[in-house]
């Protein structure tokens, strides 16, 4: 018999796991009578113990109780406690009668990462990094308590919802190659802005071209080490050169869409007789009017996020030109890839030998399809899909590739970052933002931040070691290492 924790979930202990190998642990369905599928946790022993330090695994067991699940719930090594579904979770529901859950996508629909690279050698540009950080901070606003860089009338916002990064291309904010090197080519088919509330549009119309706050950032990195020279060459990654990472999502537009549907689905679960262990996991059948309405609205938010990262990439390019252009001549930033890590997608996967249509929910997890995937530009098809894994502020980040093996292990998914281990409250108590900024600057990292309190919450020690997370996904066979990046300038909202 399981014990209940203070918040009503089922406590999980290390002895409840079956060790499959050094990097994979299973909680079988026998653990809890309401579990429909097992939970697979990808972690080394130390990361597993980290995950047991909060409610991550309890939340994973809750997710495993949703109706219509297939295979297993896959938990990434960067998992941490969230709300409803843990951050770092992947679940697949059978179409058409399985469910779709807005809370299992998250409020920041299509939060994701874009990486651009350059042929600018860090050594030659080092003395410009402070200026570059200031100009990036000015040109890429957080939008917190203010307005965005590209105000939109509502009818133009609807175009953004339908066209995604294609809208940005029409506006002169993109190169065609950027779209080719973006997940889903920067646009999800079937977006329905008519299923988005007026309230969401009011929230989103003034926020395009903004980073947001929390763990969102824009970072200039130097390509520190290359692990797969052949892949790096094809991708244009040169050791010692500058790269840029942009981490953000659909801003208040996506947040409000999720808010609206989580509220509306409270009635839907009563209507469809769905029993839930946590109300944040509300859901509706994929083929129901409610499920279809959410899917159309979610795609609108996803397209907004693709356009948002594209607009920020444009501002980053302008900033590089402004600061390094006169000195360097060539400061063009070439896109490596852009990925989503909060999304639900209709995909075909092989489950127990059969190809079936499923809705894969990835919350804090990255799609990571292997070589041969037709949704990649021709130069990447032999390699597999690029995966962009930001570390915590001041630490390394990684560029990986998807693998063929992850299809059966994680529905073609891998990790999305370092993953938190310390609460924001504790980080604020233990870390002073101004001191942290000073420490980072002593290490040669220029920092610009909207709030010192916000900076303290994102202190590196509040996160797991991203290198350990990447070693785990690499050993587990769910991603392949290409290159490691080190930060030289960080801009935070």
């Amino acid at each position: 018999m399981q014990s209940l924790d203070a918040e009503g979930g089922t406590m999980v202990n290390k002895q409840d796991f079956r060790r499959i190998n050094d990097y994979l642990w299973e909680i079988p369905t026998s653990f809890h009578p309401a579990m429909n599928v097992p939970v697979w946790v990808f972690a080394d022993e130390s990361l597993l113990e980290d995950a047991l330090g909060d409610l991550s695994i309890t939340q994973a067991v809750n997710v495993a109780q949703l109706p219509g699940l297939v295979g297993h719930v896959a938990i990434m090594p960067d998992v941490h406690q969230g709300y409803g579904m843990p951050i770092g979770g992947v679940m697949a529901t059978r179409a058409p009668d399985g469910v779709i859950s807005p809370g299992a996508v998250g409020y920041d629909i299509n939060c994701g990462v874009r990486v651009l690279t350059s042929e600018i050698e860090y050594k030659a540009a080092q003395s410009y990094m402070n200026d570059l950080a200031s100009v990036l901070y000015r040109n890429c606003p957080s939008g917190v308590g203010g307005k965005g860089s590209i105000p939109l009338p509502i009818e133009e916002l609807d175009k953004v919802c339908r066209q995604g990064a294609g809208w940005a291309l029409d506006q002169g904010y993109a190169f065609a190659e950027d779209l080719a090197r973006t997940e889903e080519f920067g646009r999800l088919e079937g977006a329905q802005p008519e299923n988005v509330s007026k309230r969401a549009k009011e929230r989103g119309k003034g926020q395009l071209g903004t980073l947001g706050a929390g763990n969102h950032f824009l970072e200039v990195d130097v390509i520190d080490q290359v692990f797969d020279p052949e892949a790096a060459e094809i991708m244009g990654l040169q050791a010692g050169c500058l790269a840029v990472q942009i981490h953000c999502g659909s801003r208040g537009f996506g947040h409000q869409i999720c808010t609206d549907y989580v509220h509306d689905f409270q009635w839907a679960v009563i209507h469809y007789g769905i029993h839930l262990p946590d109300r944040e996991l509300v859901c509706a059948p994929l083929d129901s009017p409610e499920g279809q309405a959410y899917l159309g609205a979610m795609k609108a938010a996803a397209n907004y996020a693709f356009a948002n990262r594209q607009a920020l990439a444009h501002h980053a390019r302008q900033s590089f030109q402004e600061v390094l252009g006169p000195a360097r001549g060539t400061s063009h930033l070439r896109q490596i890839y852009d990925i989503a890590h909060n999304m639900a997608k209709m995909e075909i996967h092989r489950i127990e030998g059969q190809a079936i249509a499923v809705c894969v929910h990835r919350k804090g997890a990255t799609r990571a399809f292997g070589p041969g995937f037709e949704g990649l530009p021709p130069e990447y098809r032999p390699l597999g899909q690029p995966v962009l894994v930001p570390g915590s502020m001041g630490t390394e980040s990684w560029i990986l590739l998807g693998t063929e093996a992850n299809e059966e292990l994680t529905f073609g998914s891998t990790c999305h970052g370092a993953g938190r281990v310390m609460s924001r409250r504790r980080a604020k108590r233990e870390v002073r933002g101004d001191r942290l900024r000073h420490e980072l600057e002593k290490e040669g990292i220029s920092v610009r931040a909207g709030s010192m309190r916000g900076l303290a919450e994102e202190a590196p020690r509040a996160y797991k070691d991203v290198n350990r997370v990447v070693e785990t996904v690499s050993h587990a066979g769910i991603a392949h290492k290409v290159a490691r990046l080190k930060p030289v300038a960080v801009v935070k909202g």
Binding site: D108, V144, H255, C258, V262, R424, R425
Partner: protein, 142 residues
């Protein structure tokens, strides 16, 4: 200018959560719990209001139960900030039952709002009856 107090005597207290913000809130009545939940939200994000112009809004919300109304209430305040840059220091709950909430709120434009709040969530949310009234723990996605 109005700033919001973050002391435990105020009817709410921040608690630990790995990735997001969580706070416990209590009140002698459901209406007071809702008022404290709003004040807690404003204190956590470090709101400061301008002296004027003063504004009044009437809020009508529906929900499946009190928990659903509590989440909708906080999300309405987040929405009023992001869409109109407003915060409220006077809250009067006019009607609150298991299906609907009506409130009149008075406030002003915000001069300071330090933290982006994506949403108030339903995560493990239960409003408990206690000897002193009601209490609940809220998780905000930040």
């Amino acid at each position: 200018m109005t700033a919001f107090s973050n002391s435990p005597a105020s009817g709410f207290q921040e608690i630990d959560h790995t990735a997001d913000w969580a706070y416990q809130v209590w009140g002698k009545s459901l209406a007071e719990l809702f008022t404290h939940a709003a004040q807690g939200l404003y204190a956590l994000v470090g709101v400061e209001l301008a002296t004027e112009p003063r504004v009044v809004r009437t809020i009508h919300l529906t929900g499946v139960d009190s928990e659903s109304l509590l989440v909708a209430w906080l999300n309405e305040l987040i929405h009023l900030h992001e869409s109109e840059n407003l915060g409220f220091d006077q809250i009067e709950i006019l009607r609150l039952d298991g299906a609907a909430l009506q409130a009149e709120v008075r406030g002003a434009p915000t001069q300071q709002w330090l933290k982006d709040i994506k949403a108030a969530t339903y995560h493990n949310l239960v409003i408990h009856s206690t000897e002193k009234g009601f209490e609940a723990t809220l998780v905000l996605d930040v």
